[in-house]
């Protein structure tokens, strides 16, 4: 038998208040695609950060191709032939794609005509990238591609991918998998972290399952179902979201009419004549490939970017096109943006401060201009409890939470404010199966309680599960909308790619869809 490429033994890592990894053993063989599964906060990222030399472990050792090694920093890891795609991007906004890639590879590799090599590799793997663009102009999906391309350029022996597909489109995922299988065939080992269990089944040869920092099980994904793997991770049964019966849709709560917006950034997407309405009790899903105007739509809906025509956005009976986020919140709107750190939450601030920031008015957390700390902390604790956020306490900073846990927190914060309209962008990005089900359930419940819900997501499975109507956004234009039983996933996929299709059932709400491209 060949020697394992990587062998971990007894790895333990403690953070204040948590044991993130407890005595973890892991063996990865050459050419093996090895999945690392676990709920949010199980310690997956912590473990791979140890392998990549970003963090030290408190105990345990590592063998690389049979030799015991110490990896003090990422450079040493890269020298051994380890590449990593980070969960939270390690990118520099004010620099170009090329510079970002050059920074992540060794100096020798960065020499010469990097620009054309990037184009080459991104074309051959179907990960389109323009090396000269600035990162801050790119969508999250495009940013993910930078990380992937950066790794591929290094021709590594072990590729660690921490949730690389969470924001890729189905086609992009397919392309990536082709690449990964090819690499695996060439003998490259891949350590693959994802919450998309269907993908794991398709791609991985073996899986290690972690819970609360410990390895609890191994399995062969091909022989399991997504459900059984989710249950192994959770240690209990998975409850799928259920659509409450007999909901009456009421008056339109969110009406958008002929919304045009020119993006301030010339690489951004302009919005053209977007019109739709969401009634109370209804969930409208908007599908689309990242970078087709979703972020811009979110920005105008949340009031971060104002539009000249005040009547183009109506919440309840208020026209708010020219009103900022605070006024829109006051009008009953809540939003969950795409970027958790920096947009959805202030990374360095504590959880209760983050809860206060968005809930100040509607949760009445201010008293004659003073912050009511106790009340705010109680509100934050309520979020932590109800949405099962894993954290030692609300005094912890937002950036100490694992990715999925922070998402749950932000989500809970908005939902507990009883919004009459809620707009969410990629609600379950990076959230584990159990929590994703819980988040979807809470969206359904919110609608059942009479809220108007708008879900903008790339995850078609998710949209089909929760939405009452689905529309597609492509290049800044919104299509008509169809109930999920009148359109297929394939048809939506084509629409997302900008190809005209005419599903049998036309939009029920002809007015809302009247401005299709």
């Amino acid at each position: 038998m060949t020697a394992p490429r990587l062998e971990l033994k007894g790895v333990t890592k403690r953070y204040p208040g948590v044991v993130a990894n407890n005595n973890v053993d892991l063996t990865v063989m050459p050419g093996e695609i090895h999945a690392l599964l676990g709920e949010n906060g199980a310690g997956k990222s912590t473990l791979v950060k140890f392998i990549y030399g970003v963090q030290r472990a408190d105990a345990g050792w590592m063998k690389w191709e049979g030799r015991e090694v110490e990896i003090p920093n990422p450079k040493a890891a890269r020298d051994l032939g380890i590449g990593m795609v980070f969960q939270h991007f390690s990118l520099f906004d004010a620099m170009t794609v090329e510079e970002n890639i050059a920074l992540g590879i060794s100096a020798e590799l960065a020499k010469g005509d990097l620009n054309s090599r990037i184009k080459e590799i991104s074309a051959s793997y179907g990960l389109l990238l323009d090396p000269d663009r600035y990162v801050h102009t790119l969508s999250v999906g495009e940013r993910q591609r930078i990380e992937v391309v950066r790794c591929l350029l290094q021709s590594p022996k072990l590729l660690i991918m921490d949730e690389p597909t969470s924001v890729l489109t189905p086609q992009e995922v397919e392309e990536l998998f082709k690449t990964l299988r090819r690499l695996s065939g060439e003998g490259v080992s891949i350590l693959y972290i994802s919450h998309k269990l269907q993908e794991i089944k398709e791609l991985c040869h073996t899986a290690t399952i972690m819970r609360m920092g410990e390895v609890v099980d191994d399995c062969d994904p091909a022989e399991e179902t997504a459900r059984s793997m989710a249950e192994m991770m959770m240690g209990k049964n998975l409850v799928s979201p259920e659509r409450p019966e007999g909901i009456e849709t009421g008056a339109p709560q969110l009406v958008v009419r002929n919304l045009d917006m020119e993006s301030s950034d010339h690489h951004g997407v302009d919005l053209h004549g977007i019109s739709f309405e969401v009634r109370s009790g209804e969930i409208l899903g908007i599908a689309g490939i990242a970078g087709n105007g979703q972020t811009e739509l979110m920005d105008v809906l949340s009031g971060e970017v104002l539009v000249d025509d005040d009547d183009s956005i109506i919440i309840g009976d208020k026209t708010v096109g020219g009103a900022g986020p605070v006024e829109r919140r006051a009008a009953g709107m809540s939003f969950v943006p795409e970027e958790r750190l920096g947009h959805g939450a202030v990374a360095e601030m504590t959880l209760w401060e983050n809860a206060f920031l968005s809930g100040a008015t509607r949760k009445d957390l201010l008293k004659s201009g003073f912050i009511q700390i106790n009340k705010s902390s109680k509100y934050a604790s309520e979020i932590v409890e109800q949405f099962k956020v894993k954290t030692p306490g609300v005094l912890n900073a937002a950036n100490s939470l694992s990715g999925g846990n922070l998402q749950k927190f932000i989500f809970g914060r908005e939902i507990l404010q009883d919004p009459s309209v809620i707009v969410v962008l990629q609600p379950t990005w990076g959230v584990d199966a159990g929590s994703a089900a819980a988040i979807r359930q809470s969206l359904l419940d919110l609608a059942a309680d009479g809220a108007a819900v708008l879900v903008i997501s790339q995850d078609l499975e998710e949209l089909f599960e929760v939405a009452d109507r689905i529309a597609v956004i492509c290049e800044g234009r919104l299509s008509k909308s169809w109930p999920p039983d009148e359109i297929t996933v394939d048809e939506i996929g084509l629409l997302m790619a900008g190809i005209e299709v005419d599903p049998a059932g036309a939009a029920h709400d002809s007015e809302a869809g009247g401005h299709a491209a």
Partner: protein, 311 residues
């Protein structure tokens, strides 16, 4: 051409050169994400040390080196305090300025009244005899001391370093997103320390130029706020070396005009001219702030934030 014209221009050059040094040094520091408000303090300690060595040894080269070294030594204190002991950058920078002013007064106590011969200039007697253009080329273009030429080289070199070299890219990366730079594996605080030391050396050099060339004698508090102007200059120039250079000459010209205006009997209150650099900086800030893309691309996103690696 009035006869005062060439001396006027020459004095603009000497007045501007300290701004170029201190400004470009601080620019590099800020690009790495550190805000060092101690420029004034580093400058004045550079000035007094250079002057002391210059007067005692008579060697200009040694004096200049001492100035740079003294500035870097001051910066080292700042660097260790803010980067490794995680003290607040703004407060530490202010303290450094106060400390430098006091220390320089103490060090310069015995040197008040002495003078220094100045740094050697290039001279072209033959060239200068050509009428009209002779003195222009001879003195204005070729007749400066070495440090003036060095300041031009510095601007070009720093511009090249930041935009074209890998090390410069790493420095910008550290200033842009220190968490990402750390997870890719760059030693964030080491990069910052080196930048801070460089900034200190350049501020010290600017100070040395003041006490050796601009006014070759030691007067207590002789930097007279130039360090603050240099700081303003970096923002004024929206973190671009060439603009720092232009700005330095603009502000240098203003300080000289201030002197000459009084001499020529022009009725501009000196206070107005004295505040002009700051007003200009505020104005530029207002203008560039209107374009958020401009700020995003030029201002280092981690400016003034401490970095502490967990784990």
């Amino acid at each position: 051409m009035p006869e005062w014209f060439i001396p006027f221009l020459l004095s603009v050059v000497t007045a501007s050169t300290p701004f170029v040094f201190a400004g470009i040094g601080e620019l590099v520091v800020e690009k790495s994400g550190v805000l060092n408000l101690g420029v004034e303090g580093m400058m004045i300690v550079g000035a007094v040390s250079a002057f002391a060595v210059g007067v005692t040894t008579g060697s200009g080269a040694l004096a200049v080196l001492t100035g740079a070294f003294a500035g870097a030594a001051m910066a080292l204190i700042f660097g260790v305090l803010t980067l490794y002991l995680l003290s607040n950058q703004v407060a530490t920078g202010l303290a450094l300025t106060l400390f430098g002013l006091g220390l320089s007064a103490l060090m310069g106590h015995g040197m008040v009244g002495k003078t220094f011969a100045g740094l050697p200039h290039l001279e072209f007697p033959l060239l200068e005899q050509i009428p009209v253009i002779g003195p222009l080329i001879g003195t204005l273009l070729l007749g400066h001391d070495v440090l003036v030429y060095f300041s031009v080289v510095l601007m070009i070199a720093v511009g090249w370093f930041l935009n074209k070299s890998r090390a410069g890219m790493v420095l910008r990366a550290v200033g842009e997103n220190h968490n990402a730079a750390h997870s890719i594996g760059y030693p964030v605080n080491l990069v910052r320390l080196l930048a801070v030391l460089f900034g200190g050396a350049m501020a010290g050099l600017g100070g040395a130029y003041l006490s050796l060339v601009h006014t070759p004698l030691w007067v207590e508090n002789m930097t007279a706020g130039r360090g603050w102007i240099a700081l303003a200059l970096v923002v004024f120039a929206s973190w671009r070396p060439a603009r720092v250079f232009v700005g330095a000459y603009l502000f240098g010209g203003l300080t000289i005009m201030q002197l000459h205006a009084q001499g020529l009997g022009i009725e501009i209150p000196p206070q107005v001219l004295a505040m002009a650099p700051y007003l200009a900086t505020i104005l530029v800030l207002v203008i560039i702030s209107r374009d958020s893309a401009l700020i995003r691309l030029n201002a280092p996103a981690c400016l003034g934030k401490s970095f502490h690696a967990t784990g």
